[in-house]
Symmetry: C2
Subunit: 361 residues, 2 copies
């Protein structure tokens, strides 16, 4: 998803009109909050997709249309020893955006729900917040008051999500995901991942690809569950991050979360994150918004064959419909580039016969 | 290796007395230069160690002494299903310092040799350097003049190693390694890796471990050769880094190297680098100097069984002898901690029957 077009999240989050004007601090923190993603109940999360390969067709949730054909053709081409486009396994790097590409990001990115919940959860430790207008607006669901106190709200978010060790925060994310539910479907957020993408991830791995997440969301919020849900281990999750500081606490080595941004892995930051963490140029990239444009460009700019894909959210009945005019996760420039360069645009409505996995019992 | 005790590298590099006083800029850049590592001829580099496992003993270059026993006992314990200390494969993370742990770092870290060579190589593009006192001192091997112009030298190094794309720089490293030779042995630097460590890396991988480099050296200088030499792919190389910037150059997406440090992966930076890139706490860590202390502490601080090791350079005949009093890569505090906590100290002289692999024909 694309963050910087999402500055009116306060209004969206609370369903009423807010002010769109925000400062640089917000724009930065916005990347942490709004480009983030996912949820899951660690105990009852969605399958990893590995089980999806049991059928003869490894991509049964993909309709028999152009995107599926493009994927199958590409994979066959780069994995066939003898093909002029053969790519050795160690170079088969596939990168996926998370929010809006692997799971739903509407009506509000899951990490933002979590961050706001953390403010409420931390409130008992901060009696002084009771008189903070942003905190009052938050608990009162008062969008216009929140809009008027955005800066204070961001400070509260930064404070509520800092100061603990990385291990403590990891547990907080796990606990939250275990109980949080999507208000519309009442399902754990981690069940609102896209079944066709679970199949695609498993299909790529079965063909020797290494699959990565490259998200504007923070690594801390994704790593606790991506292995179980997507089959993507923590070391293959690239995201935004806060500064952490090493220290001995009562003789025990810990990493402490500081209330400061370290890296924003969005837009032009995505190729940088890929370079820093992988050091190879991907040959397949999958996104859904303008925040993924540079990642797709970078992938397309490699010397060999590559495949670039975009999810087009055009399915209001089964998920959501948003693209050029969306204020959050806009798909505009990247769509133009896709049309100009022959990138594959996947219509959720036409190309996927299933959106979400079946609910767990 | 440990960087910040190495401030007199100018004197060491040129064999005469220099001044040890340096500023913060130098201290930072020092981390880039002095904690860096390795070399290799891409065409004729050392074997990956995978071939070492052909013999019945996977660690033939290790003497039958305490460190070898400790390694074998640990690996057996964490890999034996049913052991109370069993660790599932995905959590078997092993981290290795590079300079002085996987290859030699004396008399001068290889990356520093490279960085200085780059200044000379870039000089034709900078006619103004002819009147630069640091440049003159460099080409004249005038240590006292260099000591007097350290700041200018660092500026030259930063300029000579920036401004190009990451792909161009990658090629520069490959080209340099293909022709550079260690002045004493006349061997490619990449043959001056430690044979026992090649065997250990292969042994760990054969037992389901994922092996990582965690070095103060820069990722850009290591990634071009670590897969071929150590069997460690680019995405498992964690190091210091310069800032890179994404841009379209004549429509082609590139990452441009900026003359600015991004991250210093040394000392307390090593656990941070591990967290950022892996997101799991290692269960085995191997270093050789005080710059590795926090990495070992962090590993030891995990909840399960772990193994911490240090190479002790006590073999002046076959390699070098340096520890507590060394100004470069000092082993002092980490040694005390090893003794206090029962970490394994590996004597190069007593515990390794071979240091370097046989020279390639």
């Amino acid at each position: 998803m694309e963050c910087f077009a999402s500055r009116d999240w306060v209004r969206r989050a609370f369903g009423r009109a807010g002010r769109a004007s925000v400062g640089a601090t917000f724009a930065l923190y916005c990347a942490l909050m709004l480009t983030s993603a996912l949820t899951l109940t660690m105990s009852g999360c969605a399958s990893t997709g590995a089980t999806q390969t049991a059928s003869a067709d490894p991509l049964p949730s993909w309709n028999d249309s152009a995107p599926k054909h493009a994927i199958e053709k590409f994979v066959a081409d780069v994995t066939h020893d003898g093909s002029p486009n053969y790519v050795p396994p160690e170079q088969r790097i596939a990168v996926f955006d998370n929010d809006g590409t692997l799971w739903s990001e509407q009506p509000m990115p899951v990490q933002l729900v979590f961050l706001l919940d953390q403010v409420k959860a931390q409130a008992p430790n901060h009696p002084e917040w009771k008189s903070n207008p942003a905190y009052k607006a938050l608990v009162d669901h008062d969008a216009s008051a929140l809009a008027a106190h955005q800066k204070q709200l961001l400070q509260l978010i930064a404070l509520a999500n800092s100061g603990m060790t990385t291990d403590e925060y990891d547990q907080t994310v796990r606990d939250w995901l275990a109980s949080a539910r999507d208000p519309k479907t009442h399902r754990p957020y981690t069940e609102l991942v896209y079944q066709p993408q679970l199949e695609l991830l498993a299909y790529l791995r079965a063909n020797g690809f290494k699959t990565y997440i490259v998200s504007g969301g923070t690594i801390e919020f994704m790593r606790p569950w991506t292995e179980k849900v997507y089959g993507i281990p923590p070391e293959q999750v690239i995201g935004s991050s806060q500064v952490v500081k090493y220290e001995l606490r009562d003789g025990k080595p810990v990493l402490l979360r500081m209330p400061k941004l370290d890296f924003v892995n969005d837009g032009a930051g995505k190729p940088v994150g890929i370079y820093r963490n992988i050091g190879r140029r991907p040959i397949l990239a999958f996104g859904n918004s303008d925040g993924d444009l540079q990642m797709l460009e970078y992938t397309a700019g490699g010397s060999g064959e590559s495949l670039e894909l975009l999810v087009h959210h055009d399915d209001a009945a089964r998920e959501f419909a948003y693209d050029r005019d969306s204020r959050m996760a806009k798909l505009d420039k990247a769509w133009d580039e896709a049309l100009a360069h022959g990138w594959t645009v996947v219509s959720m409505k036409s190309d996927w016969n299933t959106v979400y996995p079946a609910a767990k019992q």
